[in-house]
Amino acid sequence: MINRRRILSAAALAAGVAIGVAAGLAGAVAQTKPTKVGFVYVGPIGDHGWSYQHHQGLLAVKKEFGDKVETTFVENVPEGPDAERVIDQLAAAGHDLIITTSFGFMNPTVKVAAKYPKIKFEHISGFKQAENVATANIRYYEGRYVAGILAAKASKGGTIGYIGSFPIPEVVMGMNAAFLGAKSVNPNIKMKIIWVSTWFDPGKEADAAKALADQGADIIMQHTDSPAPVKFAEERKLFAIGQASDMKAFGPNAILTSIVNNWNGYYIGRVKAAMDGSWKSGDVWGGFNSGMLDLPSYGPGVAADAKALADAAKAKITSGELHPFTGPLKKQDGSEFLKAGEKIADKDLAGMNFYVEGIDGVLPK
């Protein structure tokens, strides 16, 4: 049974490898020994969101290094025992650098890495490093702060609707940042938050967007993965902020901007380091200044003064002059968590579990 399973999974992997590598192989014949890079995705590359953006990184690596690299990817890998097998297979197949792109791949990555000390691993959005495991993530909240400015400027009624997935620090800090950004240009702005307890359920996300709109929100922000809220905003003639990738296609009039993850530069840099031997383990948490985060394509709903304000905030965040979480700031219950002029520490940010003052509603525990 075990043998048959091994053979089956090897066959499945071989098929995946064949698809991913086919293009690379064609040009690689003359090359002596290309660097082999393997990617593991949690979703389909066609999700137009999280995994899609990682795949753009793979394509950028291929474009940058041509036949000096051989790339492989395996998509739709479930978080769990399967992930370990897939990562192990990639390692056994002689990859030099393996990039695993979901939080749930953290333990499998660390486990496989211990078995193959000569292979380099990159894990995205986790917190466990090792000699040969580096981690990286993006400061999405910087983008959400600027998006909050655009949202507040575009809102006629003064209410932003925000669809949340799960109350983890990453989502909570994004909400707080968006609210602080919005408040910086309109002190009376209100934010209505609906938690849908899912990352991906287009029907429910559309229902939540409709509920927010019916309650008077005229801007829809989201921290869920499907483009349903943007699509809904387009239909209802409201405005929306896209998530993870550029969602302009789903709401050409509605979209103000999208908060886009850009892994291209990071992956190119890491592959280059793996090639020239300078690769070291580490932890990167990159914001605007790293190029890993971008706000492309302001939509037609962004007025000139809003654009100027957003660009200015983006420039200040990029230069380090402005941190979205700078005191004096109070929690929802009125207690102070940052003194005047104080900037939040990364470790406090990474564990954020409260709303800032001014947001209504209860944060689920």
């Binding site: 066609g46 209505k192 307890s197 483009p227």
Partner: protein
């Protein structure tokens, strides 16, 4: 509460309930014929994909909905072939049908992700205040007619009587000459078509776009609704409205900033379903379960 908000909540309820009613009415007829098809989710997602692909390719909603109905009806017939002709286990085959549908739609659907179908036409407001009628679409009305139609068919027609006879006791029905397998295949095709239409409502009306696995468990809720409704069409409507209503109200209560945890609110529709199930399952309350006696049993008689 302003009129617009009430209207918004009501249309939200209808939007959430419509795909559930479609799929549940189809499954109700299937189960009334004595077959348990757990593949509703798979048939819905196939319908969601086929409907979207056909609409995008031809530009016609009618062709889109027809494609959804036909493709999912074929899935239902495939289930019929496996369980009624080849006599495979219904539970296992139904689960497999769900997995098959999810995989197949993802495979063929990859090229359609990211495309959009445009806004589905809604009724004008007829000069009435608010947005209520502006948010109503033709399929919401269709499900009401379908519920009445299914009720009349089951209770008032000869065909319905035969279908129920097959579901209650297939050996007896066979003995007096009714074509058990043929009746069940027809019921399965109908059930598939309805599930497919429910899926297409998601991909063409509610969201409207296609991404894989977009039904996100609605097929399972539809299955629960059939039991919840004690196999009666109008109770399917009531159950779906209750379920949809609580789902929408919990979203709204969060928007209003009520001090209740979101997780508890998310549980409410399911808690309510279980609660009602417990109530109606108690004997002597007058509201007894009316499960078809041959439900899920293998029919081995030859025809």
């Amino acid at each position: 509460m302003p009129f617009d908000l009430i209207a918004g909540i009501l249309t939200g309820l209808l939007v959430a309930a419509t795909p559930l009613i479609l799929a549940a009415l189809g499954e109700l007829v299937v189960e009334k014929s004595g077959v348990l098809n757990l593949g509703v989710e798979g048939m819905m997602v196939i319908g969601a994909f086929a409907g979207f692909a056909a609409k995008v390719s031809t530009g016609s909603y009618l062709i889109g909905f027809l494609a959804a109905i036909l493709s999912a009806a074929l899935m239902g017939l495939l289930f019929g072939l496996l369980t009624q002709v080849l006599l495979s286990n219904q539970v296992a085959t139904g689960l497999a049908l769900t997995l098959f549908g999810l995989g197949l739609s993802a495979l063929f659907g990859a090229g359609y992700t990211g495309q959009t179908a445009g806004a589905f036409p809604r009724f004008d407001s007829f000069g009435l205040p608010g947005r209520f009628f502006a948010g109503v679409d033709a399929l919401m009305l269709l499900v009401l007619l379908l519920a009445i139609g299914v009720h009349l068919f089951l209770e008032r027609t000869r065909g319905g009587l035969i279908l129920r006879a097959v579901g209650e006791n297939h050996d007896a029905a066979h003995a007096i000459g009714y074509p058990v397998v043929r009746v069940r295949l027809l019921a399965l095709a109908f059930g598939g078509g309805m599930a497919g239409l429910g899926g297409a409502y998601l991909s063409l009306v509610q969201t409207p776009f296609w991404v894989e696995r977009m039904t996100a468990g609605r097929g399972w809720i539809a299955l629960a609704l059939v039991v919840f409704a004690a196999w009666r069409p109008f109770r399917v409507l009531a159950g779906a409205f209750l379920f949809g209503g609580i789902s929408i109200l919990q979203l709204h209560s969060q928007g209003f900033g009520l001090k209740i945890d979101a997780q508890i609110l998310s549980m409410l529709p399911y808690l309510a379903t279980i609660g009602v199930l417990v109530l109606i399952s108690r004997s002597g309350s007058g509201l007894t379960l009316k499960a078809p006696q041959s439900l899920g049993k293998v029919f081995t008689g030859s025809s």
